[in-house]
Symmetry: D2
Subunit: 360 residues, 4 copies
């Protein structure tokens, strides 16, 4: 009801503001007997953390995860797993200028109107800092899914108008982690990085696209008619800060095609049923069909720019919001692990739901 | 868990297959004291029903809604409202050819694998016929929202590559209901209809885009961080048959812009705070800000084409799926009321959630 | 949120008033591939239906179940199962006397205050007629549980002050179905029947206790800390009309004992771990332990008596509620299948939840 | 699904084991703008904490609550409130004797079978220590309810066979907090304390009854047909460790009465409609009617006794569980605030749900 939980069977509830003592998450529904690799979990957090390169915000947070419960002698016990991440590098004074005014295209105004009160420091609850909790929980989802050999990898496929022209099948996706923008095509990666360096100097920001690819997803995940797998993935992605769009399979592009051009014909391959093409993006009728799942998530340019902008205060008086503070000129490289985490949470949830109903 | 419910406070659960005695829905959470206009509800169903024009399927269903409960002397009583729509024009034999084979880009294969059994007649539960139940429940949502003057109108903005170039603000959206394709620009409507007539003759199908506009949405709807209003709208749209993508506000297009170009500056207008532009699509931080909400939903071309297609049977043997039956060459005109219904269900749910928490 | 659904994985949503066209239920989450025995389902309904003996209400309802969806060629398909039961023997005029006044210890007053409107005919939604839908859905739960050999039997163990002194283990519980009061001890059954005949003549009513016994429940059902198996059973029972209390295992009686007297010691028997005694009622820490589950549900005497009673109308004016209509002098014999149905729904739900999380 | 959340609109999720770094709770759905009195919250915790008197366990925990989020400048912000309570006085070695054996009438065996692994230290997740998190969240619920003047007070009405003979209306319930057993009748309190002192010396334990009284509950709370107010209260109470039974209003006792004796007649009093008697316990048809709500919760005698008991290990071999450690001879005095907390959580949840649907 109040919106801070996600998932049904594999369910997370996150808490925390940018400037409180900590942010964190309770994961309820992680099966027992899973071996926990704390180093892996921390590494996932490190992929998201601020200050990781010169094209991200220079705010420093070590983002260390403290496990509070649910693990005994290195294994999950089936009880809730609480994860706490202390907030460290807080400069609340940096935000005094917005205590009474609303930053353009931020959540300041809507929070004020909805709740009648807001913790303006760092955007409070609307800060993307909250996503660290998702990444931490997502690491558990990934560990759980790795039991089934499910592999989830995302990468930056467009920054502003710098587009990675290669299809995901033409690249080694592991290369995404070898550069700071997280694009598996090194040449495109360089151009994206340059573009961000340029925009940063201009005090402006960029958006773009993250593509996510899921391999080895078991057949049968997704619960029609409302909890179709792609509908759940879509909601998961759209719940990430700054996301404005989602498409899977042939997506918006596919809507220009005819049915005869867009359909995926069934064929037998290696004694198993497959589709010859995969415009369905691995999901048919809302249920995974065993092919690769792939989808795009569109991020708008970061709303905080290093330029002064007109605005109003809470009484409607004209004011100016100063362009200052430490912010990302482009969130995409840091959003890659968030996209993966949310995808993992959706799949883990649906894998459990699938198991509940499997009756043959 | 099993996926046939939508919403939390204003919650629907639908049932029914294409070829059973009926389809229907239970709406739980419709507030008491709402005056019910049965004619209006039926009219909404009529906008979706098959056979309404020569560019839709020629299957005939009267789609009459039978109210089973929850209404007393013309008013809702606060108890569950059950709506039943009999199935009439069933030709189960039309489907014997797919009893053992899988139609390309349909849900036949995934249902078979997920459940180990499927009602192949008319696609069974995966049939878009299920959406009639959504439209019926959505009519109640619209009635409820009309108390608050919320106005929801969708229209076809692209069919294949025939695009309506005008922005929604430049058109009288009520004109959408004056033509059979439901595009408010008469000239574009004619071209879209021609395009569909042509594709129909070729035994092929088309997809496209439906744009939806919501006016007078109260400020404050949407529950961060997961149940952001646009995330819920996105899920709602992606749960509709054949949908492949969703974007709101400046959407995918906006990701090519710089932050300074995409931001919406706050201004005071008529003694109220507004944004000068509305690239945020009426939603900021996941919460409605009082501006128009608008979004696009992408529909793939209909998978059933009047051409024979290669496929396999359940044993993996090669087979052919015949192109026959009565089907839509383009679902978009009939999907307009479905998009509106799902949008109304999301808003009604969030309006109730908002009221629950309003504490000042 | 609005209270008409029960269960999470095996979930029902009921609808319907006493005097509308029908009552019914959607069951979402029944696994696919279950063979359906329609005769069995109807027989369960027959155990609850009115007019079945001279100690129940003489209202006549055939209570025929019409399956609307979810079954194909005799098997469940994994899609929602909608069940509709027409209302037949309605005498709405019988209720005109309470259109403006509130029957003592009924829901008339609270519904009026909560919703601002009420369907007074037959108590509307608050009528125990709603429980027919539960029994229909419960029959599916029982069929599902019978795959695991789970056996659920309830019986009347006390009517007013006529108590069945034998423990459930000392009786053949199947004998409960051989008499009209549903007590497995024939001698006690006769005395209970006499007691009801006497009270009926006096125009008064009786309450009592129903005991329910569940055999062969798999070990491990129940989800601490809030969804403990007995907490869910308790809620299920307390949601039945006229229930005022619930206890399991040694119950209220056990609270007079010392720990050393009440504890169940573990022993090995037939190469399996068991408890020597079973004061825990088959549930420890909220989780089934493989022993018999047993619990008591307390029903108050029926509120509708054949005597005139003082009351007020909706304006607070004194009035009299006439003792008339066709009502049960004691609901217990008809409540036995309701108790079983609700118990089955709880267990089916928890069996699915157990399967979801089973990871070893 | 996994059972560690309670409530729908005012929803808590608890985490933590007896011997991890902390236990805690996330409260999602507490309305914004509530002034928070940290001292009050801590005081509620102190009422539950161990070591508070010579008749409770001598384990020492300061049970200090650390607020992590959701409060800004002394007020709730509408975002999730995370509360963390460090575990302090842990003696894990005290539990090495049960690493491989099962304590009678505890959750050791069922946890082992359900999850395949268990944190045996202090009972792990099954420890009543978890209820500290409930009390902390319940304090927020009480603060919220105090806006509506709702008053919730529980007290010990029976210990073993020492019964408080006075009805709640004959006592000043505030006196309960003036003695260590929390019984508002001083004379009975003394006898209860003596009884516990005696049983403690014998190395044994006692159970009993806690009565809870809710005054000024608004009319209209409770959501039929499944989420009846008493059904939700019942589940809440049954989810507390060691609870074996629940009854409200005239309860089990009332089932011995005739309808004519048990019914509550409506009367007008002070220009408002009331019932002359209140055997319904303030709830009719599952909805609060404005009269006092009262109910009894039955606690079994504590399972941990200071006597050696026969048991088996996980291989089924006979063993003995030693009677040692620091435990309560009777949990009732410490359970009083837990009962109140759970009642407050139910009412806060239903107050929000009521507000969501209020439409006139």
């Amino acid at each position: 009801m109040a919106g801070n939980s996600f998932g049904q069977a594999f369910r997370i509830t996150t808490y925390g503001e940018s400037h409180g003592p900590s942010i964190g998450v309770i994961l309820d529904g992680c099966p027992a007997g899973l071996s926990i690799d704390e180093e892996y979990i921390q590494k996932e957090l490190d992929r998201r953390k601020p200050g990781q390169s010169h094209i991200t915000t220079q705010r420093k947070e070590s983002d260390l995860v403290h496990i509070q419960s649910g693990i005994f002698e290195g294994q999950t016990t089936g009880t809730p797993i609480a994860l706490l991440i202390p907030n460290e590098d807080q400069r609340s004074k940096d935000y005094s200028h917005i205590a009474d005014s609303f930053r353009p295209s931020h959540a300041d105004y809507t929070y004020q109107k909805k709740y009648g009160i807001r913790d303006y420091r760092g955007g409070g609850r609307s800060s993307a800092r909250e996503t660290a909790a998702r990444v931490a929980a997502g690491a558990f989802a990934k560990l759980f899914l790795s039991q089934e050999k499910v592999k989830i990898r995302a990468y930056v496929s467009r920054v502003g108008s710098i587009l990675c022209l290669k299809n995901y099948k033409e690249m080694d996706l592991d290369l995404a982690e070898t550069n700071i923008i997280r694009c598996p095509d090194p040449e495109t990666a360089s151009r994206m990085i340059e573009e961000i360096e340029t925009i940063r100097k201009a005090g402006d920001t960029l958006g773009g696209i993250i593509t996510c690819v899921i391999e080895n997803c078991p057949i049968g995940l997704g619960e029609p008619v409302f909890d179709k797998l792609h509908a759940e993935l879509g909601k998961a992605m759209l719940s990430i800060n700054a996301v404005q769009g989602f498409e899977y399979g042939s997506g918006f592009e596919g809507t220009y095609k005819k049915g005869s051009e867009n359909n995926d014909l069934f064929v037998q391959r290696d004694a198993e049923i497959h589709t010859r093409t995969n415009r369905s993006g691995g999901i048919q009728g809302g249920i995974s069909n065993g092919e690769d799942i792939y989808f795009n998530t569109a991020f708008k340019p970061v709303a905080t720019i290093m330029q002064d902008q007109e605005s109003v205060d809470q009484f409607g008086n004209s004011t100016q919001v100063k362009g200052k503070g430490r912010h990302d000129p482009c969130v995409l490289p840091r959003a890659v692990p968030i996209v993966e985490a949310m995808a993992a949470l959706v799949l883990a949830d649906h894998l459990l739901r699938f198991k509940a109903y499997k009756n043959f």
